[in-house]
């Protein structure tokens, strides 16, 4: 009976199993194989052992892409976390047109990233740019955003804040789950709003924070569309990220073997960082289900 149930269960999830095997496991396995080949895509792959991995260690472009990606991760994740929690707290309070404000914050997330990046590219642009025109109106000369490595990176990070919607919605739902009696008890004990936030609310939603940070990390480590459209990686590779190098190696340089190596290393790095975050999370995340 038990085996029959298992068989029925497997049959029902078989479409997913087939899809997962064909579109995740098989490409990953092939990626590992291709990462150890010299493959131009237009010719048959030739096995080269660990040559691509050795090349990666001495590749200056890899170092630049790695630094930019880490910088982006380190800046965007805290910024996104703080912004989305702050917005969730703000929007959880009773207010007129509350639903409208929530929709307004979430709406940009519905737009395709390509469209958003194109719009922002125009907004930052010197000639049409709403940003520089706005700055101009208050007497500030805006920078030429994409001419300087620093400002180009700032432009991409600021644009990224525009899509706080999904994380904010998850925080909003988790805030509703914080037991009201805990906050009330803290209030009666004279704890301030800030104290309640730090000692009650944030610990209660910490599993959700960990979840959002992990999702944010996975997304940030694969950042591609926005810099590809807005800056093309420049100037001087100042906004050149790891995923852009994977793409360039594969489709612009015809070096699919090396692109596979870069992709496998990226996958392993994200996996290790995620495991690391989960381990760190054990110390700082408070699970209510685990209460004695």
């Amino acid at each position: 009976m038990r085996w029959r149930n298992t068989g029925t269960g497997l049959l029902w999830i078989s479409p997913w199993i087939v899809g997962f095997a064909c579109f995740t496991i098989l490409p990953l396995a092939l990626g590992v194989w291709y990462s150890m080949t010299d493959w131009t895509l237009l010719e048959a792959p030739i096995p080269v052992g660990t040559e691509n991995y050795e090349r990666l260690l001495g590749d200056q472009v890899v170092h630049v892409a790695l630094w930019n990606t880490l910088l982006y991760i380190v800046i965007t994740i805290p910024l996104l976390t703080v912004a989305s929690i702050a917005l969730a707290i703000l929007l959880s309070r009773p207010a007129r047109f509350q639903a409208l404000w929530r929709v307004a914050v979430f709406a940009p997330s519905v737009l395709p990233l390509v469209a958003l990046a194109t719009i922002f590219k125009l907004m930052y642009d010197g000639e049409l740019g709403v940003v520089n025109r706005g700055l101009d109106a208050v007497g500030v000369q805006g920078p030429e955003w994409f001419a300087s490595e620093t400002w180009a990176m700032v432009a991409i990070i600021l644009m990224n804040l525009w899509v706080v919607g999904p994380a904010m919605v998850i925080y909003l739902a988790s805030l509703r789950d914080v037991p009201r009696d805990l906050n009330e008890a803290a209030s009666i004990d004279g704890v301030t709003w800030w104290g309640r936030l730090v000692h009650v609310t944030l610990p209660m939603i910490s599993p959700v924070i960990l979840f959002n940070v992990i999702i944010g990390l996975i997304n940030a480590a694969q950042v591609f569309v926005v810099p590809y459209i807005m800056t093309g990686g420049g100037p001087n590779r100042g906004t050149y990220f790891w995923s852009m190098y994977v793409y360039d190696a594969a489709f612009r340089y015809g070096d699919m073997g090396y692109a596979s190596t870069l992709g496998i290393v990226q996958f392993l790095a994200i996996l290790l960082l995620t495991i690391g975050l989960l381990l760190v999370g054990r110390r700082f995340v408070f699970y209510r289900g685990a209460m004695p």
Binding site: D38, T40, L41, L42, E43, I46, R55, Q60, V61, L122, D125, G126, E127, L128, G129, N132, R133, D136, Q141, G142, P143, E144, W145, A147, S148, G234, P235, N236, R237, D248, F251, R252, Y253, G254, D255
Partner: protein, 451 residues
């Protein structure tokens, strides 16, 4: 009862999806490789859009009307080089591909395109600078759609206003004469901001690889298969390039470039009269006619240490036609390409693109009413022994990426020219070494090594 009706609706829904999928498989779109009526259908992928695509459509229509055996199905698309690569790798390429001349070495190196055998066409059919862009030794690998050379577009009103006598003196003949014009054409406002710039090397910044060519330098030596990026000629060229920024100051230029204007195009500074001179391709004539018809302009070859008014230097690029490996109808594809190489067809598409003809023989009608009134300047560069293209190397996209980063450092003044170029040289040497190892593994001959 409710359960069975729900099940029935579910089955009907699933059946509907299955029927739709079956219908799509049978009647849905298919690659047009099959015979249409009595005709063989050729699929031709091209990269152009808008009026440029429409110009080529006229050639396709003329071919389709010229015979009743082959029909060309013309499809324009973006990112064509990447799609071409995937289609060839996947074994389902079109019959004819419209690429850029700089794509040729990579595709040829990988045997991904077929050698062409076009009746009546030899290397001498094309302008000298065009030949190495479509031939590997004596073997023709591509047909030419259009060609463009890059010249300096000049706002003549600015020159008049600055008292520069171009009517009697003619265009500048030397780089010194060109540089001497710059202070006269530069205007600062009361606060010291640049109001009108004379010439900016990075506006629009599409040909940053071209400067060595004006100084007798090159980025790659095809004879020895070595990078020559940090050669003295190239250092001289990029020093002149960097002076172009230092003349105004980096911050002043950034303020100038970020100032709001009312023209959204990459040509905005020239079209709005904020920039007196800019390097551009021959299509600029069409852009000016459409966006700033009141502009009084002319195009001249940019003078340099190399070249002369009779044999000016300048970069040359071509749009090429190739038959990819695995093309379903290679013979018919070559028949179509041969048709596009006819003088009347080349002139038709070139004139509609406002470009010079890539052929040696040009009809008198071609120049009559040409969209670009300065076409002679572009023609002179195209037929000059000092015209030059991108390095004929399979790793050009990677080499170009390294050079772009180096050029950014030079332009921003982050590094001195020699240091920046030596860094690019080291990076490119690594690329060429990898390409050499790759060829050895496959027993391939280097593109350009064929006599």
């Amino acid at each position: 009862m409710r359960e069975s009706s729900g099940r029935f609706i579910g089955l009907v829904f699933l059946g509907g999806i299955a029927l739709a999928a079956l219908g799509y498989a049978i009647f849905g779109p298919k690659p047009a490789t099959a015979v249409s009526g009595d005709r063989i259908v050729l699929n031709y992928w091209e990269k152009w859009t808008g009026s440029e695509a429409a110009a080529m459509q006229q050639v396709v229509d003329a071919f389709n009307a010229s015979q009743d055996r082959v029909h060309v199905n013309y499809l324009t698309m973006s990112s064509i080089d990447e799609k071409a690569m995937l289609s060839i790798a996947g074994g389902a390429p079109p019959d004819v591909l419209g690429l850029w001349s700089f794509n040729l070495p990579f595709y040829a190196q990988a045997d991904a395109i077929l050698p062409l055998d076009l009746q009546g066409i030899v290397a001498e059919t094309y302008a000298p600078a065009v030949r190495p862009l479509v031939f590997d030794g004596d073997q023709q690998l591509a047909g030419v759609n259009t060609c463009s050379s890059v010249a300096v577009y000049v706002n003549l009103t600015h020159l008049d206003r600055a008292g520069l006598d171009w009517r009697n003196g003619g265009p500048p003949r030397t780089l010194e004469q060109f540089d001497a014009m710059i202070p006269h054409l530069t205007i600062h406002d009361e606060e010291g901001n640049v109001e009108q710039a004379a010439f900016l090397h990075m506006d629009p910044g599409w040909w940053h690889w071209c400067w060595p060519g004006y100084f007798g330098g090159q980025l790659y030596d095809v004879e020895t298969d070595t990078a020559t990026i940090d050669s003295p000629e190239n250092i001289a060229a990029f020093t002149w390039f960097q002076e172009g920024q230092r003349r105004y100051g980096r911050d002043a230029l950034r303020r100038f470039q970020s100032a709001p204007t009312d023209n959204p195009s990459p040509y905005r500074n020239f079209l709005t009269g904020r920039l007196s001179m800019t390097i551009q391709g021959p299509w600029m004539a069409r852009v000016i006619a459409e966006s700033a018809p009141e502009l009084n302009w002319a195009a001249w070859p940019l003078p340099g240490p190399v070249g002369s008014p009779d044999a000016p230097a300048g970069p040359i690029e071509c749009d090429i036609l190739v038959v990819p490996r695995g093309a379903p109808h290679p013979d018919e594809a070559m028949e179509f390409i041969a048709f596009t190489q006819r003088q009347d067809m080349v002139e038709l598409v070139s004139s509609l693109h406002a470009k010079p003809s890539p052929l040696m023989d040009v009809s008198a009608d071609f120049y009559f009413n040409h969209l670009n009134t300065s076409i002679a300047a572009h023609e002179a560069i195209l037929h000059s022994p000092n015209g030059f293209g991108t390095p004929p190397v399979a790793t050009w996209p990677e080499m170009n990426a390294a050079l772009t980063a180096g050029v950014d450092r030079i332009w921003n003044g982050d590094e001195d020219v020699a240091t920046a170029l030596s860094e690019v040289q080291a990076e490119v040497e690594g690329q060429l070494e990898r390409a050499r190892i790759r060829r050895q593994r496959r027993g391939q001959e280097r593109f350009g090594a064929r006599p």
